[in-house]
Subunit: 223 residues, 4 copies
Amino acid sequence: MSETPSAPTGAVGPPDLGGAATSPRRAKGERTRRKILDAAEQVFAAVGYHDASIVKITEAADVAQGTFYLYFQSKLGVFEEVVADLNQRVRHAMSEASRSATNRLEAERLGFAGFFRFTAEHPALYRVIRQAEFVSPRALRHHYETIIGNYVPYLREAMAAGEIAPTDPMVLAWSLAAIGEMIGLRWILWNEEHEVPPAVFDQMMVVISRMLGVPRDPDGRSA
Amino acid sequence: MSETPSAPTGAVGPPDLGGAATSPRRAKGERTRRKILDAAEQVFAAVGYHDASIVKITEAADVAQGTFYLYFQSKLGVFEEVVADLNQRVRHAMSEASRSATNRLEAERLGFAGFFRFTAEHPALYRVIRQAEFVSPRALRHHYETIIGNYVPYLREAMAAGEIAPTDPMVLAWSLAAIGEMIGLRWILWNEEHEVPPAVFDQMMVVISRMLGVPRDPDGRSA
Amino acid sequence: MSETPSAPTGAVGPPDLGGAATSPRRAKGERTRRKILDAAEQVFAAVGYHDASIVKITEAADVAQGTFYLYFQSKLGVFEEVVADLNQRVRHAMSEASRSATNRLEAERLGFAGFFRFTAEHPALYRVIRQAEFVSPRALRHHYETIIGNYVPYLREAMAAGEIAPTDPMVLAWSLAAIGEMIGLRWILWNEEHEVPPAVFDQMMVVISRMLGVPRDPDGRSA
Amino acid sequence: MSETPSAPTGAVGPPDLGGAATSPRRAKGERTRRKILDAAEQVFAAVGYHDASIVKITEAADVAQGTFYLYFQSKLGVFEEVVADLNQRVRHAMSEASRSATNRLEAERLGFAGFFRFTAEHPALYRVIRQAEFVSPRALRHHYETIIGNYVPYLREAMAAGEIAPTDPMVLAWSLAAIGEMIGLRWILWNEEHEVPPAVFDQMMVVISRMLGVPRDPDGRSA
DNA sequence: AATGAATGAGAGTTCATTCAT
DNA sequence: TATGAATGAACTCTCATTCAT
C-alpha cells in the first residue's frame, strides 16, 4: 500500500498569478478594483474568456476602459485573479460545510453538499475554471492542487484511524474530486437546477461510501 | 434501488453537428476535405479553438483559405466535426480494448487501459473536447451522452448477473467516466507521459473495484 | 421655340454592351444560356447587383458555376445583357399599349398604363436599372436614351399637328418619363401594389394633360 | 377633386437612421467624427456604396481603421448619416433659395434653381441617394418623403389662393420632384456641367408653369 | 458542353492595449 | 485616480474567376 510518488506538478503554494499592476493605496481605488474584479467574474462566467472583452468588463463595472489597466496588467491578469478568488471561496465553502462532521463519510456527505451548493450559486466556478485549461494552465493546476492538497490529509487520517480502507490517498482524492465535478456538471449545470436531485445525491453517496471502503457500507454487501 | 429518472438531456442520436458546406462529389474533393479535417484536429489540439485560425488550419492542410469553405461552413463547423470524429474513435478504441474481457471488472480494467492509451496518442481528445464547453455545448453533451449511453447497458447486465452491486447505473457510469477523465488529465496530460504510472493505475482499479462492489474485492476488506 | 442642343450623350445606337463570351452553336447551349440570363434577372431584381453572386445565379439556373463563364464574360456582362433585355421589353410593352390611340393624350394615357403594367409585372425593371447608375453608366444612358428617342418624334408630330402646345420635345419627353418613373416607384413599388391607384392615375393624367398644353384641357381652366 | 388617400409610407418623422456608436464626449472626438463623416460622403460619391471601403474612408479621413467604429456602428451606419445630412442640406438650400419669391411660379423657379445649384456643387446628392434604393430603403423613403412633405403645404396654399389650378397636391409634388431630379441627372450629372443650360431651364419652367395651371401661362396658349 | 475544385485578395469588424489629458 | 480617444493587427468569411477533367 505504498503511496504513488507525488507527481512533479509544481509548488503547492500559490504561484504568483500575475494580477495587480499597482496595489491601490486608497479606499476609493480599492473599491474600484473590486468592482472590476466582480464584473470580470460575471462576464467570464456569462460568455467565457474569449468572448469577454475589456469593453464588456469595464461597462459592467461602470468605469472607463483605461481604468482597467490601472488595476490589472492584462485580460489574463484578471482572469487569474478571478480563478484564485473562486478557488479560495469554494475551499472555504467546503471546509465550512464539513466542519461539524463526526466521521469521514459524514464529512464527505456534508462537503459534497457544500460543493454543490456553491456550484449552484456560482456557476462561474465551472465556467471560468474549465476555460483555464488553455487560458492559464498554471492557474488550473494550482486550483486542483490546492483542493486535492486540502483533501489528502483528511483521507490519510481516516485511513490511519481505520475509518476507511487504505489506498493511495492521492488517487482517492482525485477520484472523489472527479465525481463531484462531473455530477455537478451533469445535474446542476446542464439541468440548470439549483441542486443535484436527492435520489442522485444518495446514489452518489452509496458509490462514494463503497469507494472509501467504509466498514459499515450502508447499502453494499460487505461487513 | 429504483433508478433515478433519466434527465432530459435531449435526443440520444447525434444532433446535426453542422459541418460540410458541400459534400465532395469527386475523389479529389474527398481527399482535400480529409486533409483539412486532420489539419484542424492538429491545430485545435495544439493551440485551442480560439487561437486556431482558418489561416493556420489551411496552411497546415496546404490549401488556400477559400478552399476551407468549400468543405466546411465555418470554424465552428469543423470543430464540431472534429469532436464527432474523436468521439467515434475513443468509443471504438474502448470497446475494442474491452472486447476480450470475461467479467465486468476485467472489462473495466481493459477499457480504462484502452482509454488511457487513446488519450496518450490523441491528446486532442481532451484539449479539443474540454473547449467544447463554451464553443459548442451541444457537441459536448452529445459526446458525454454517447459514452455514458454505451456504458450503462453493460453495468445493468453486470448488476443483473450479480457481478457488481446494484446502484443507479447512470450515476455509476458518470462516476466511472469522471475518474477516467480526471486520472488521464492528471497523470498523462499534465505529466506529458504516454501512460498512467502503473502504481496509480493499480490504485485506481482498487478504487473502481470497490465502487462496483465486486464480491471478491482483491484489496478491500469485504467478501 | 428653338430646340435645345442635343447633349453629347454618346451614340444613340446600342453600344456593344459586352456579354456573350461565345455564341452558342447548338440549341442546347441556347437553352442553357437563356436559363442563366433569366436566373440573373431574378437574382439581380431580388438582391441587387452587388449581393447577387455567380453562385446564386448559377444555383438559380441549376447549372454549375463554371458553366456561367461559357456564356458570359463576367458578372458585369450578364448585367448589361439583362438591362438591354428589359429595355427592349418595356419599350415593346409601351408601344403595343399605345398603338390603338387616336390622339396624343390618349396615346399618353395608354402608354403610361402599359408602362405601369409592365412595372408591376417586372419589378426587376426598376430594381435592376437603378443599380446601373454605378454599375454600368453606359447601360443606363442607353436605356434612357432609347426610351426618350422613341418618344420625341411622336411629340414633335403632335406639336406639328397642333395637338399639343409647342415646347422643346426633349425637355418634355424627359419630364414625362420622369413622372412615369416616379409615380411607378412611389405607388407600385413602395406600396407593393400591382397598379397605381386609379385616383392617382387620373390626377397624374390631369397634370400630364396640362403639361402637354392640350387645347381641351378637361380639368384646367384654359380652352 | 378629392385628394388621394395618403399611402402608408410609414412615420413622417425621421426613423432612427442608425449611426453613432458613441456620441463624442470631447471636442476632439467631435472633430474626428466630422472628419470621418465628410470623408465618407466624398468616398461614397466617388465610388459608390459598394466600392467604398472602410479602409478608403479612414484613409481619406486620415485616421486608423478602428477609429471608424468609435463613431459609427457600421458602414451602413455612416451611409445613413450621410444621406440624412445631405437631405437636410438640400432642403435648406431649396427653402433658402425660394424665400424671396412673391408667387408660386417664382418660388418654383427659384427653388429649382437652388436645387440645381446644390446638385452641381454636391454630386454626392444623386450618387449617394440613388444607391440608397438597395442599400437602405428606409433612408431613401425618408429622404423623398421629407422633401415632398415640405412641398405639399405650399402647393395647397397656392391652390387655395387660386394661384394654381387645383389638383391632388401629392401627385403634383411627386411629379415636380421627378422632373427636377431627372433634368438634374440628365443635364448636370451626365454632362458634367455646373448648371442646366439656360434654354433647357426655361423650357422646363414652361412645362412646369403649364402643369401648375398658372392662370397667366406666359408661354402657353391659355389666358 | 459542362462540371466541380481551387484560388487568394479583400471585405467589414473586433479588441487588447496605449496615450494624452 | 480616472477618462475617452486612438490604434492597427488580426480575425472570419465571401466571391469573381480560372483550371483540369
